[in-house]
Protein backbone atom coordinates (compact mmCIF):
# COMPACT_ATOMS: atom_id res chain seq x y z
CA UNK A 1 0.00 0.00 0.00
CA UNK A 2 2.63 2.52 1.10
CA UNK A 3 4.92 1.29 -1.65
CA UNK A 4 2.17 1.87 -4.18
CA UNK A 5 1.61 5.43 -2.95
CA UNK A 6 5.33 6.22 -3.05
CA UNK A 7 5.39 4.76 -6.56
CA UNK A 8 2.51 7.00 -7.68
CA UNK A 9 4.24 10.01 -6.19
CA UNK A 10 7.60 9.35 -7.85
CA UNK A 11 5.86 8.48 -11.08
CA UNK A 12 3.96 11.76 -11.18
CA UNK A 13 7.05 13.81 -10.30
CA UNK A 14 9.58 12.17 -12.62
CA UNK A 15 8.45 9.54 -15.13
CA UNK A 16 5.08 11.09 -15.91
CA UNK A 17 5.95 14.69 -15.17
CA UNK A 18 2.79 16.58 -16.04
CA UNK A 19 4.73 19.30 -17.81
CA UNK A 20 7.75 17.63 -19.38
CA UNK A 21 6.20 14.29 -20.26
CA UNK A 22 2.63 15.36 -21.14
CA UNK A 23 3.26 19.03 -21.99
CA UNK A 24 0.33 20.27 -19.95
CA UNK A 25 0.38 23.66 -18.28
CA UNK A 26 2.83 25.11 -20.79
CA UNK A 27 1.36 28.61 -20.97
CA UNK A 28 1.92 29.67 -17.39
CA UNK A 29 5.18 27.70 -17.37
CA UNK A 30 6.58 29.80 -20.19
CA UNK A 31 5.05 33.06 -19.02
CA UNK A 32 5.87 33.03 -15.29
CA UNK A 33 9.34 31.45 -15.38
CA UNK A 34 11.05 34.81 -15.89
CA UNK A 35 11.63 35.33 -12.18
CA UNK A 36 12.58 32.54 -9.84
CA UNK A 37 10.73 33.85 -6.78
CA UNK A 38 7.48 34.27 -8.69
CA UNK A 39 8.01 30.80 -10.14
CA UNK A 40 8.33 29.34 -6.64
CA UNK A 41 5.15 31.14 -5.56
CA UNK A 42 3.18 29.93 -8.54
CA UNK A 43 4.61 26.46 -8.00
CA UNK A 44 3.23 26.35 -4.48
CA UNK A 45 -0.11 27.70 -5.68
CA UNK A 46 -0.30 24.95 -8.31
CA UNK A 47 0.65 22.28 -5.76
CA UNK A 48 -2.10 23.51 -3.45
CA UNK A 49 -4.76 23.73 -6.15
CA UNK A 50 -3.84 20.30 -7.51
CA UNK A 51 -3.79 18.53 -4.17
CA UNK A 52 -7.19 19.99 -3.28
CA UNK A 53 -9.02 19.74 -6.58
CA UNK A 54 -7.93 16.22 -7.52
CA UNK A 55 -9.45 14.51 -4.42
CA UNK A 56 -12.56 16.74 -4.57
CA UNK A 57 -13.03 15.83 -8.21
CA UNK A 58 -12.53 12.21 -7.26
CA UNK A 59 -15.38 12.43 -4.78
CA UNK A 60 -17.61 14.19 -7.28
CA UNK A 61 -16.83 11.71 -10.01
CA UNK A 62 -17.25 8.60 -7.93
CA UNK A 63 -20.37 9.65 -6.06
CA UNK A 64 -22.20 11.67 -8.72
CA UNK A 65 -20.91 11.31 -12.24
CA UNK A 66 -19.49 7.86 -12.96
CA UNK A 67 -21.78 5.26 -14.56
CA UNK A 68 -23.78 3.78 -11.69
CA UNK A 69 -22.40 6.29 -9.21
CA UNK A 70 -25.85 7.39 -8.12
CA UNK A 71 -26.52 3.91 -6.80
CA UNK A 72 -26.53 5.31 -3.25
CA UNK A 73 -29.76 7.26 -3.83
CA UNK A 74 -31.36 4.42 -5.72
CA UNK A 75 -30.66 5.48 -9.30
CA UNK A 76 -28.16 2.85 -10.53
CA UNK A 77 -28.81 3.33 -14.27
CA UNK A 78 -27.96 6.97 -14.58
CA UNK A 79 -24.67 7.90 -16.23
CA UNK A 80 -23.67 11.53 -15.81
CA UNK A 81 -20.05 11.18 -16.86
CA UNK A 82 -20.61 13.53 -19.82
CA UNK A 83 -20.74 16.30 -17.20
CA UNK A 84 -17.25 15.56 -16.00
CA UNK A 85 -15.44 18.36 -17.86
CA UNK A 86 -17.81 21.09 -16.75
CA UNK A 87 -17.92 19.88 -13.15
CA UNK A 88 -14.15 19.57 -12.90
CA UNK A 89 -13.65 23.04 -14.34
CA UNK A 90 -16.20 24.48 -11.92
CA UNK A 91 -14.40 22.95 -8.93
CA UNK A 92 -11.05 24.18 -10.19
CA UNK A 93 -12.35 27.71 -10.78
CA UNK A 94 -13.84 27.85 -7.31
CA UNK A 95 -10.59 26.64 -5.73
CA UNK A 96 -8.54 29.16 -7.67
CA UNK A 97 -10.81 31.95 -6.49
CA UNK A 98 -10.29 30.82 -2.92
CA UNK A 99 -6.51 30.74 -3.36
CA UNK A 100 -6.52 34.17 -4.95
CA UNK A 101 -8.30 35.65 -1.97
CA UNK A 102 -5.92 33.94 0.45
CA UNK A 103 -2.75 35.08 -1.39
CA UNK A 104 -4.09 38.61 -1.70
CA UNK A 105 -4.66 38.65 2.04
CA UNK A 106 -1.28 37.24 3.11
CA UNK A 107 1.29 38.20 0.46
CA UNK A 108 0.64 41.30 -1.57
CA UNK A 109 4.04 41.03 -3.26
CA UNK A 110 3.38 37.53 -4.53
CA UNK A 111 -0.12 38.56 -5.58
CA UNK A 112 1.31 41.39 -7.65
CA UNK A 113 4.03 39.15 -9.06
CA UNK A 114 1.68 36.44 -10.20
CA UNK A 115 -0.67 39.00 -11.72
CA UNK A 116 -3.05 37.63 -14.28
CA UNK A 117 -1.52 34.17 -14.12
CA UNK A 118 -3.06 33.37 -10.78
CA UNK A 119 -6.65 33.45 -12.06
CA UNK A 120 -5.35 31.73 -15.17
CA UNK A 121 -4.48 28.65 -13.11
CA UNK A 122 -8.19 27.98 -13.48
CA UNK A 123 -7.64 27.23 -17.13
CA UNK A 124 -4.20 25.71 -16.63
CA UNK A 125 -4.45 22.46 -18.52
CA UNK A 126 -2.20 20.73 -15.98
CA UNK A 127 -4.93 21.03 -13.34
CA UNK A 128 -7.73 19.69 -15.52
CA UNK A 129 -5.39 17.13 -17.03
CA UNK A 130 -4.51 15.71 -13.63
CA UNK A 131 -8.19 15.31 -12.76
CA UNK A 132 -8.86 13.55 -16.05
CA UNK A 133 -5.82 11.28 -15.70
CA UNK A 134 -7.06 10.44 -12.21
CA UNK A 135 -10.34 9.20 -13.72
CA UNK A 136 -8.62 7.37 -16.55
CA UNK A 137 -6.17 5.54 -14.28
CA UNK A 138 -8.81 4.38 -11.78
CA UNK A 139 -7.05 5.76 -8.74
CA UNK A 140 -8.52 5.31 -5.29
CA UNK A 141 -9.21 8.37 -3.14
CA UNK A 142 -5.87 8.30 -1.35
CA UNK A 143 -4.05 7.64 -4.60
CA UNK A 144 -5.75 10.61 -6.24
CA UNK A 145 -4.60 12.83 -3.37
CA UNK A 146 -1.00 11.67 -3.79
CA UNK A 147 -1.25 11.88 -7.56
CA UNK A 148 -2.51 15.48 -7.41
CA UNK A 149 0.20 16.48 -4.96
CA UNK A 150 2.92 14.71 -6.97
CA UNK A 151 1.84 16.33 -10.23
CA UNK A 152 2.05 19.71 -8.54
CA UNK A 153 5.54 18.96 -7.23
CA UNK A 154 6.61 17.81 -10.70
CA UNK A 155 5.26 21.01 -12.23
CA UNK A 156 7.05 23.08 -9.62
CA UNK A 157 10.37 21.29 -10.17
CA UNK A 158 10.07 22.00 -13.87
CA UNK A 159 9.18 25.67 -13.53
CA UNK A 160 11.87 26.41 -10.94
CA UNK A 161 14.63 24.80 -12.98
CA UNK A 162 13.32 26.67 -16.01
CA UNK A 163 13.39 29.96 -14.11
CA UNK A 164 17.02 29.30 -13.11
CA UNK A 165 17.92 28.41 -16.69
CA UNK A 166 16.35 31.65 -17.88
CA UNK A 167 18.73 33.59 -15.65
CA UNK A 168 21.49 32.04 -17.73
CA UNK A 169 19.56 32.64 -20.95
CA UNK A 170 19.84 36.39 -20.38
CA UNK A 171 23.37 36.07 -21.74
CA UNK A 172 22.23 34.15 -24.79
CA UNK A 173 22.47 35.72 -28.19
CA UNK A 174 19.84 33.87 -30.20
CA UNK A 175 19.33 34.32 -33.95
CA UNK A 176 16.67 36.73 -35.13
CA UNK A 177 13.22 35.35 -34.45
CA UNK A 178 14.37 32.95 -31.76
CA UNK A 179 14.54 35.43 -28.89
CA UNK A 180 12.35 35.11 -25.83
CA UNK A 181 9.66 32.48 -26.15
CA UNK A 182 11.25 30.74 -29.13
CA UNK A 183 14.38 29.94 -27.17
CA UNK A 184 12.31 29.05 -24.13
CA UNK A 185 10.37 26.49 -26.13
CA UNK A 186 13.61 24.95 -27.43
CA UNK A 187 14.96 24.73 -23.87
CA UNK A 188 11.68 23.12 -22.80
CA UNK A 189 12.12 20.52 -25.50
CA UNK A 190 15.69 19.80 -24.38
CA UNK A 191 14.49 19.60 -20.77
CA UNK A 192 11.88 17.07 -21.82
CA UNK A 193 14.62 15.07 -23.50
CA UNK A 194 16.65 15.13 -20.29
CA UNK A 195 13.58 13.99 -18.34
CA UNK A 196 13.28 10.98 -20.65
CA UNK A 197 15.96 9.60 -18.37
CA UNK A 198 13.13 8.26 -16.26
CA UNK A 199 11.02 6.82 -19.05
CA UNK A 200 10.90 3.07 -18.71
CA UNK A 201 11.24 3.10 -14.95
CA UNK A 202 8.10 1.71 -13.37
CA UNK A 203 7.95 2.53 -9.73
Amino acid sequence: MTENLVGIFLNSVFTGNILLAYFLGMCSFVAVSKNIDTAIGLGFAVIFVLSVTTPINWLIYHFLLAPGALHWIGLPHINLSFLKFIMFIAVIAAMVQAIEIIIDRFSAALYAGLGVFLPLIAVNCAILGTSLFMVERNHTFLESLIFGFGSGVGWMVAIISMAAIRIKLRYANPPYGMEGYGLTMIVTGLMAMAFMLFSGISF
Binding site: I186, M196, L197
Partner: protein, 399 residues
Protein backbone atom coordinates in the same frame (compact mmCIF):
# COMPACT_ATOMS: atom_id res chain seq x y z
CA UNK B 1 64.73 26.49 -39.55
CA UNK B 2 61.72 26.56 -37.31
CA UNK B 3 62.23 30.28 -36.77
CA UNK B 4 62.27 30.88 -40.47
CA UNK B 5 59.08 28.92 -40.88
CA UNK B 6 57.47 30.94 -38.15
CA UNK B 7 58.52 34.21 -39.74
CA UNK B 8 57.22 33.17 -43.12
CA UNK B 9 53.94 32.11 -41.60
CA UNK B 10 53.60 35.38 -39.73
CA UNK B 11 54.29 37.35 -42.89
CA UNK B 12 51.68 35.30 -44.74
CA UNK B 13 49.01 36.11 -42.17
CA UNK B 14 49.97 39.77 -42.01
CA UNK B 15 49.91 40.10 -45.78
CA UNK B 16 46.48 38.55 -46.12
CA UNK B 17 45.01 40.13 -43.06
CA UNK B 18 44.10 43.23 -45.10
CA UNK B 19 41.66 41.29 -47.26
CA UNK B 20 39.83 40.04 -44.24
CA UNK B 21 39.64 43.27 -42.27
CA UNK B 22 36.83 45.75 -42.63
CA UNK B 23 36.35 46.87 -46.20
CA UNK B 24 38.46 44.01 -47.55
CA UNK B 25 37.32 41.60 -50.23
CA UNK B 26 36.80 38.66 -47.92
CA UNK B 27 35.56 40.51 -44.86
CA UNK B 28 32.62 38.09 -44.71
CA UNK B 29 34.98 35.23 -44.06
CA UNK B 30 36.89 36.98 -41.29
CA UNK B 31 35.88 34.37 -38.64
CA UNK B 32 37.41 31.65 -40.78
CA UNK B 33 40.66 33.62 -41.16
CA UNK B 34 40.81 34.31 -37.46
CA UNK B 35 40.22 30.66 -36.62
CA UNK B 36 43.16 29.59 -38.74
CA UNK B 37 45.41 32.39 -37.52
CA UNK B 38 44.87 31.70 -33.85
CA UNK B 39 45.87 28.09 -34.31
CA UNK B 40 49.41 29.36 -34.87
CA UNK B 41 49.58 32.68 -33.02
CA UNK B 42 47.98 34.02 -29.88
CA UNK B 43 45.91 37.03 -30.91
CA UNK B 44 47.76 40.30 -30.36
CA UNK B 45 44.65 42.25 -29.50
CA UNK B 46 44.58 42.96 -25.76
CA UNK B 47 41.37 43.04 -23.77
CA UNK B 48 40.07 46.58 -23.51
CA UNK B 49 37.49 46.21 -20.78
CA UNK B 50 37.60 44.48 -17.41
CA UNK B 51 37.44 41.78 -16.20
CA UNK B 52 41.09 41.10 -17.05
CA UNK B 53 42.35 37.59 -16.47
CA UNK B 54 45.70 36.89 -14.89
CA UNK B 55 46.61 34.31 -17.43
CA UNK B 56 47.72 34.24 -21.02
CA UNK B 57 45.60 31.15 -21.61
CA UNK B 58 42.72 31.61 -24.02
CA UNK B 59 39.89 29.37 -25.09
CA UNK B 60 42.00 27.77 -27.81
CA UNK B 61 44.79 26.73 -25.43
CA UNK B 62 42.21 25.64 -22.86
CA UNK B 63 40.52 23.41 -25.39
CA UNK B 64 43.85 22.03 -26.66
CA UNK B 65 44.56 20.73 -23.17
CA UNK B 66 41.22 18.91 -23.21
CA UNK B 67 42.08 17.50 -26.63
CA UNK B 68 45.44 16.35 -25.27
CA UNK B 69 43.73 14.70 -22.32
CA UNK B 70 41.37 12.97 -24.74
CA UNK B 71 44.26 11.27 -26.53
CA UNK B 72 44.74 8.28 -24.18
CA UNK B 73 41.10 7.13 -24.39
CA UNK B 74 41.03 7.85 -28.12
CA UNK B 75 44.16 5.85 -28.91
CA UNK B 76 43.05 3.02 -26.68
CA UNK B 77 39.58 3.26 -28.25
CA UNK B 78 41.04 2.81 -31.72
CA UNK B 79 43.06 -0.18 -30.52
CA UNK B 80 40.10 -1.70 -28.69
CA UNK B 81 37.67 -1.25 -31.59
CA UNK B 82 40.16 -2.92 -33.88
CA UNK B 83 40.84 -5.69 -31.39
CA UNK B 84 37.18 -6.54 -30.88
CA UNK B 85 36.58 -6.41 -34.60
CA UNK B 86 39.49 -8.71 -35.41
CA UNK B 87 38.52 -11.04 -32.60
CA UNK B 88 34.92 -11.27 -33.76
CA UNK B 89 35.88 -11.63 -37.39
CA UNK B 90 38.24 -14.46 -36.57
CA UNK B 91 41.29 -12.70 -38.00
CA UNK B 92 44.75 -12.91 -36.56
CA UNK B 93 45.41 -10.58 -33.70
CA UNK B 94 48.64 -8.97 -34.73
CA UNK B 95 49.10 -5.45 -33.48
CA UNK B 96 49.43 -3.85 -36.90
CA UNK B 97 46.19 -5.39 -38.21
CA UNK B 98 44.37 -4.34 -35.07
CA UNK B 99 45.40 -0.72 -35.42
CA UNK B 100 44.54 -0.62 -39.14
CA UNK B 101 41.14 -2.13 -38.53
CA UNK B 102 40.50 0.22 -35.61
CA UNK B 103 41.51 3.27 -37.65
CA UNK B 104 39.27 2.18 -40.51
CA UNK B 105 36.32 2.03 -38.15
CA UNK B 106 36.95 5.02 -35.92
CA UNK B 107 38.46 7.64 -38.25
CA UNK B 108 35.38 7.91 -40.52
CA UNK B 109 33.25 8.63 -37.44
CA UNK B 110 35.58 11.41 -36.32
CA UNK B 111 35.99 12.88 -39.80
CA UNK B 112 32.24 12.97 -40.43
CA UNK B 113 31.61 14.45 -37.01
CA UNK B 114 34.16 17.23 -37.54
CA UNK B 115 33.06 17.91 -41.12
CA UNK B 116 29.35 18.15 -40.38
CA UNK B 117 29.88 20.08 -37.18
CA UNK B 118 32.32 22.58 -38.69
CA UNK B 119 29.94 23.16 -41.56
CA UNK B 120 27.29 24.45 -39.14
CA UNK B 121 29.84 26.23 -36.98
CA UNK B 122 31.30 28.13 -39.94
CA UNK B 123 27.90 28.83 -41.45
CA UNK B 124 26.64 30.35 -38.21
CA UNK B 125 29.77 32.35 -37.55
CA UNK B 126 29.83 33.84 -41.05
CA UNK B 127 26.15 34.76 -41.03
CA UNK B 128 26.01 35.89 -37.42
CA UNK B 129 29.50 37.42 -37.47
CA UNK B 130 30.85 35.81 -34.33
CA UNK B 131 34.28 34.20 -34.20
CA UNK B 132 34.49 30.46 -34.80
CA UNK B 133 34.69 28.76 -31.46
CA UNK B 134 37.40 26.30 -30.58
CA UNK B 135 34.97 24.57 -28.25
CA UNK B 136 33.79 22.56 -31.20
CA UNK B 137 37.18 20.86 -31.51
CA UNK B 138 36.35 19.13 -28.24
CA UNK B 139 32.64 18.57 -28.94
CA UNK B 140 33.37 17.09 -32.33
CA UNK B 141 35.80 14.58 -30.86
CA UNK B 142 33.82 13.76 -27.71
CA UNK B 143 30.71 12.93 -29.69
CA UNK B 144 32.04 10.07 -31.86
CA UNK B 145 33.86 8.65 -28.83
CA UNK B 146 30.53 8.05 -27.08
CA UNK B 147 29.06 6.21 -30.06
CA UNK B 148 29.02 2.48 -30.75
CA UNK B 149 31.51 1.69 -33.54
CA UNK B 150 28.82 0.33 -35.87
CA UNK B 151 26.79 3.53 -36.05
CA UNK B 152 25.97 4.58 -39.66
CA UNK B 153 27.89 7.66 -40.74
CA UNK B 154 24.80 9.63 -41.74
CA UNK B 155 23.54 9.27 -38.19
CA UNK B 156 26.78 10.75 -36.93
CA UNK B 157 26.20 13.73 -39.22
CA UNK B 158 22.57 14.12 -38.15
CA UNK B 159 23.45 13.82 -34.48
CA UNK B 160 26.27 16.34 -34.49
CA UNK B 161 24.14 18.75 -36.54
CA UNK B 162 21.44 18.61 -33.89
CA UNK B 163 23.98 19.00 -31.11
CA UNK B 164 25.70 22.01 -32.69
CA UNK B 165 22.62 23.84 -33.97
CA UNK B 166 19.97 23.13 -31.33
CA UNK B 167 22.34 22.41 -28.46
CA UNK B 168 24.62 25.39 -28.96
CA UNK B 169 24.19 27.80 -31.87
CA UNK B 170 20.58 28.83 -31.17
CA UNK B 171 21.86 30.08 -27.82
CA UNK B 172 24.47 32.22 -29.55
CA UNK B 173 27.49 29.92 -29.59
CA UNK B 174 30.01 28.58 -27.11
CA UNK B 175 29.65 29.71 -23.53
CA UNK B 176 25.95 30.46 -23.77
CA UNK B 177 24.50 26.97 -24.10
CA UNK B 178 22.66 25.21 -21.28
CA UNK B 179 23.32 21.59 -22.22
CA UNK B 180 26.56 19.96 -23.27
CA UNK B 181 26.34 19.89 -27.11
CA UNK B 182 28.06 16.48 -27.44
CA UNK B 183 25.65 14.93 -24.95
CA UNK B 184 22.67 16.61 -26.58
CA UNK B 185 23.75 15.04 -29.85
CA UNK B 186 24.27 11.65 -28.22
CA UNK B 187 20.91 11.71 -26.44
CA UNK B 188 19.16 12.83 -29.61
CA UNK B 189 20.57 9.88 -31.54
CA UNK B 190 19.79 7.55 -28.67
CA UNK B 191 16.10 8.47 -28.69
CA UNK B 192 15.76 8.92 -32.44
CA UNK B 193 17.49 5.73 -33.57
CA UNK B 194 17.49 3.38 -30.58
CA UNK B 195 18.06 0.28 -32.71
CA UNK B 196 21.47 1.55 -33.83
CA UNK B 197 22.48 2.92 -30.46
CA UNK B 198 21.68 0.21 -27.94
CA UNK B 199 21.26 -3.51 -27.63
CA UNK B 200 23.80 -6.27 -27.93
CA UNK B 201 24.52 -6.15 -31.62
CA UNK B 202 25.97 -2.68 -32.12
CA UNK B 203 29.13 -2.73 -30.05
CA UNK B 204 31.47 -4.68 -32.28
CA UNK B 205 32.29 -3.47 -35.78
CA UNK B 206 33.35 -6.25 -38.10
CA UNK B 207 35.17 -4.75 -41.03
CA UNK B 208 36.56 -7.77 -42.80
CA UNK B 209 35.78 -11.27 -41.78
CA UNK B 210 38.07 -14.16 -42.43
CA UNK B 211 35.58 -16.85 -43.24
CA UNK B 212 31.84 -16.21 -43.27
CA UNK B 213 29.95 -13.04 -44.00
CA UNK B 214 28.99 -11.80 -40.60
CA UNK B 215 27.42 -8.37 -40.51
CA UNK B 216 26.85 -7.85 -36.84
CA UNK B 217 28.25 -9.74 -33.94
CA UNK B 218 26.55 -10.10 -30.64
CA UNK B 219 28.90 -8.51 -28.16
CA UNK B 220 27.21 -7.91 -24.85
CA UNK B 221 28.54 -5.02 -22.81
CA UNK B 222 29.08 -5.65 -19.11
CA UNK B 223 26.11 -3.44 -18.27
CA UNK B 224 23.72 -5.30 -20.53
CA UNK B 225 24.86 -8.84 -19.81
CA UNK B 226 23.04 -8.94 -16.50
CA UNK B 227 19.73 -7.46 -17.58
CA UNK B 228 18.90 -10.90 -18.90
CA UNK B 229 19.32 -12.41 -15.46
CA UNK B 230 15.90 -13.55 -14.32
CA UNK B 231 16.70 -14.84 -10.90
CA UNK B 232 18.87 -13.37 -8.23
CA UNK B 233 22.35 -14.66 -8.81
CA UNK B 234 25.73 -13.67 -7.66
CA UNK B 235 26.37 -10.94 -10.14
CA UNK B 236 30.11 -10.82 -9.76
CA UNK B 237 30.56 -14.45 -10.66
CA UNK B 238 28.16 -13.96 -13.54
CA UNK B 239 30.18 -11.06 -14.88
CA UNK B 240 33.37 -13.01 -14.48
CA UNK B 241 32.02 -15.99 -16.35
CA UNK B 242 31.12 -13.61 -19.19
CA UNK B 243 34.74 -12.47 -19.20
CA UNK B 244 34.35 -9.19 -17.37
CA UNK B 245 36.65 -9.24 -14.38
CA UNK B 246 37.35 -6.07 -12.47
CA UNK B 247 40.74 -5.78 -14.16
CA UNK B 248 39.26 -6.15 -17.65
CA UNK B 249 36.67 -3.52 -16.89
CA UNK B 250 39.29 -1.15 -15.51
CA UNK B 251 41.62 -1.61 -18.47
CA UNK B 252 38.72 -1.40 -20.89
CA UNK B 253 39.42 -4.29 -23.22
CA UNK B 254 35.79 -5.23 -23.88
CA UNK B 255 33.08 -4.30 -26.44
CA UNK B 256 31.62 -0.88 -25.87
CA UNK B 257 31.46 2.63 -27.20
CA UNK B 258 34.52 3.86 -29.09
CA UNK B 259 36.22 5.85 -26.37
CA UNK B 260 34.36 5.13 -23.20
CA UNK B 261 35.45 1.67 -22.17
CA UNK B 262 38.74 2.24 -20.42
CA UNK B 263 38.61 3.69 -16.92
CA UNK B 264 42.41 3.59 -16.81
CA UNK B 265 42.83 5.92 -19.79
CA UNK B 266 40.18 8.26 -18.42
CA UNK B 267 42.12 8.33 -15.16
CA UNK B 268 45.23 9.49 -17.03
CA UNK B 269 43.16 12.14 -18.77
CA UNK B 270 41.64 13.18 -15.46
CA UNK B 271 45.10 13.69 -13.96
CA UNK B 272 46.13 15.92 -16.87
CA UNK B 273 42.95 17.95 -16.61
CA UNK B 274 43.11 18.34 -12.84
CA UNK B 275 46.81 19.24 -12.70
CA UNK B 276 46.43 21.89 -15.41
CA UNK B 277 43.31 23.17 -13.66
CA UNK B 278 41.16 22.78 -16.75
CA UNK B 279 38.62 20.41 -15.21
CA UNK B 280 37.14 20.87 -11.77
CA UNK B 281 38.39 18.22 -9.36
CA UNK B 282 35.31 18.93 -7.26
CA UNK B 283 32.98 17.55 -9.92
CA UNK B 284 35.11 14.47 -10.56
CA UNK B 285 35.64 13.57 -6.90
CA UNK B 286 32.03 14.42 -6.06
CA UNK B 287 30.86 12.16 -8.86
CA UNK B 288 33.02 9.23 -7.76
CA UNK B 289 31.86 9.72 -4.16
CA UNK B 290 28.21 9.81 -5.25
CA UNK B 291 28.62 6.66 -7.30
CA UNK B 292 30.44 4.69 -4.59
CA UNK B 293 28.20 5.75 -1.71
CA UNK B 294 24.97 5.11 -3.60
CA UNK B 295 26.03 1.67 -4.77
CA UNK B 296 27.32 0.87 -1.28
CA UNK B 297 23.97 1.85 0.28
CA UNK B 298 22.10 -0.17 -2.33
CA UNK B 299 24.28 -3.14 -1.44
CA UNK B 300 23.17 -2.86 2.17
CA UNK B 301 19.45 -2.72 1.43
CA UNK B 302 19.67 -5.25 -1.40
CA UNK B 303 17.23 -8.12 -1.18
CA UNK B 304 16.44 -11.04 -3.39
CA UNK B 305 13.56 -9.50 -5.32
CA UNK B 306 15.55 -6.46 -6.41
CA UNK B 307 17.68 -6.17 -9.52
CA UNK B 308 20.95 -8.13 -9.07
CA UNK B 309 22.92 -4.97 -9.81
CA UNK B 310 22.04 -3.69 -6.34
CA UNK B 311 24.35 -6.22 -4.73
CA UNK B 312 27.51 -5.57 -6.72
CA UNK B 313 30.83 -4.40 -5.38
CA UNK B 314 30.81 -0.59 -5.84
CA UNK B 315 34.13 -0.75 -7.69
CA UNK B 316 32.41 -2.52 -10.58
CA UNK B 317 30.16 0.48 -11.04
CA UNK B 318 33.23 2.68 -11.14
CA UNK B 319 35.05 0.61 -13.73
CA UNK B 320 32.20 -0.56 -15.96
CA UNK B 321 30.77 1.31 -18.90
CA UNK B 322 31.18 4.96 -19.64
CA UNK B 323 31.03 6.42 -16.16
CA UNK B 324 34.72 7.36 -16.02
CA UNK B 325 34.58 8.92 -19.46
CA UNK B 326 31.42 10.84 -18.68
CA UNK B 327 32.48 12.23 -15.34
CA UNK B 328 35.96 13.25 -16.54
CA UNK B 329 35.20 14.75 -19.94
CA UNK B 330 31.47 15.45 -20.07
CA UNK B 331 30.46 16.50 -16.59
CA UNK B 332 33.38 18.91 -16.22
CA UNK B 333 32.37 20.98 -19.27
CA UNK B 334 32.78 24.46 -17.78
CA UNK B 335 29.79 25.85 -19.66
CA UNK B 336 27.08 23.41 -18.70
CA UNK B 337 28.36 22.66 -15.18
CA UNK B 338 27.63 25.03 -12.30
CA UNK B 339 30.16 27.78 -11.75
CA UNK B 340 30.16 27.98 -7.97
CA UNK B 341 32.34 25.71 -5.89
CA UNK B 342 29.97 24.07 -3.42
CA UNK B 343 27.47 23.52 -6.23
CA UNK B 344 30.13 21.58 -8.12
CA UNK B 345 30.39 19.02 -5.31
CA UNK B 346 26.63 18.51 -5.28
CA UNK B 347 26.46 18.48 -9.07
CA UNK B 348 29.06 15.73 -9.28
CA UNK B 349 27.54 13.80 -6.42
CA UNK B 350 24.09 13.76 -8.02
CA UNK B 351 25.54 12.63 -11.34
CA UNK B 352 27.18 9.66 -9.62
CA UNK B 353 24.05 8.86 -7.67
CA UNK B 354 21.74 9.07 -10.69
CA UNK B 355 24.12 6.94 -12.76
CA UNK B 356 23.85 4.09 -10.28
CA UNK B 357 20.10 4.49 -9.87
CA UNK B 358 19.50 4.39 -13.63
CA UNK B 359 21.82 1.44 -14.14
CA UNK B 360 20.05 -0.46 -11.40
CA UNK B 361 16.43 0.51 -11.81
CA UNK B 362 15.93 1.47 -15.42
CA UNK B 363 16.11 -1.62 -17.63
CA UNK B 364 15.73 0.50 -20.76
CA UNK B 365 19.07 2.26 -20.33
CA UNK B 366 21.88 -0.03 -19.26
CA UNK B 367 24.23 2.94 -19.51
CA UNK B 368 23.08 5.73 -17.24
CA UNK B 369 25.85 8.26 -17.13
CA UNK B 370 24.94 10.12 -20.31
CA UNK B 371 21.39 10.79 -19.23
CA UNK B 372 22.46 11.55 -15.66
CA UNK B 373 24.79 14.32 -16.83
CA UNK B 374 22.20 15.74 -19.22
CA UNK B 375 19.65 15.72 -16.41
CA UNK B 376 21.99 17.51 -14.03
CA UNK B 377 22.86 20.09 -16.73
CA UNK B 378 19.24 21.05 -16.39
CA UNK B 379 19.66 21.83 -12.68
CA UNK B 380 23.12 23.41 -12.81
CA UNK B 381 21.76 27.00 -13.07
CA UNK B 382 19.46 26.29 -10.12
CA UNK B 383 22.42 25.08 -8.03
CA UNK B 384 24.29 28.27 -8.87
CA UNK B 385 21.26 30.37 -8.00
CA UNK B 386 20.83 28.68 -4.61
CA UNK B 387 24.50 29.00 -3.69
CA UNK B 388 24.66 32.66 -4.68
CA UNK B 389 21.47 33.36 -2.78
CA UNK B 390 22.88 31.64 0.34
CA UNK B 391 26.17 33.52 0.15
CA UNK B 392 24.38 36.82 -0.22
CA UNK B 393 22.17 36.13 2.77
CA UNK B 394 25.22 35.22 4.87
CA UNK B 395 27.04 38.42 4.04
CA UNK B 396 27.02 41.08 6.73
CA UNK B 397 25.25 44.13 5.36
CA UNK B 398 27.72 46.98 4.98
CA UNK B 399 25.24 49.79 5.11
Amino acid sequence: MFNQFENNLRRLFEKNSIHFSEGGRFYKFRPLFEAVETIFFTPAIPARRPPFVRDGIDLKRFMSIVLLALMPPLIFGIYNTGYQSQLAGGNDLNFFNIIISGLLTVMPLIIVSYAAGFFWEILFSIIRKHPISEGFLVTGLLFPMTLPPTVPLWQVAVGISFGVVIGKEVFGGTGRNIFNPALTARAFLFFAYPAKMSGDRVWVAVSNTASTAINAVSGATPLSVTTLASSFENIESMLQSAGFTLTTLFAGNYPGSVGGTSALCCLIGALVLIITGVASYRIIIGGVAGLLSTSFLLGIVSTAHLNPWTDINPLYHLAAGGFAFGIVYMATDPVSAPGTNTSKWFYGFFIGMLTVLIRVFNPAYPEGVMMAILFMNLFAPLFDFIEIRMRVSKRIPNV
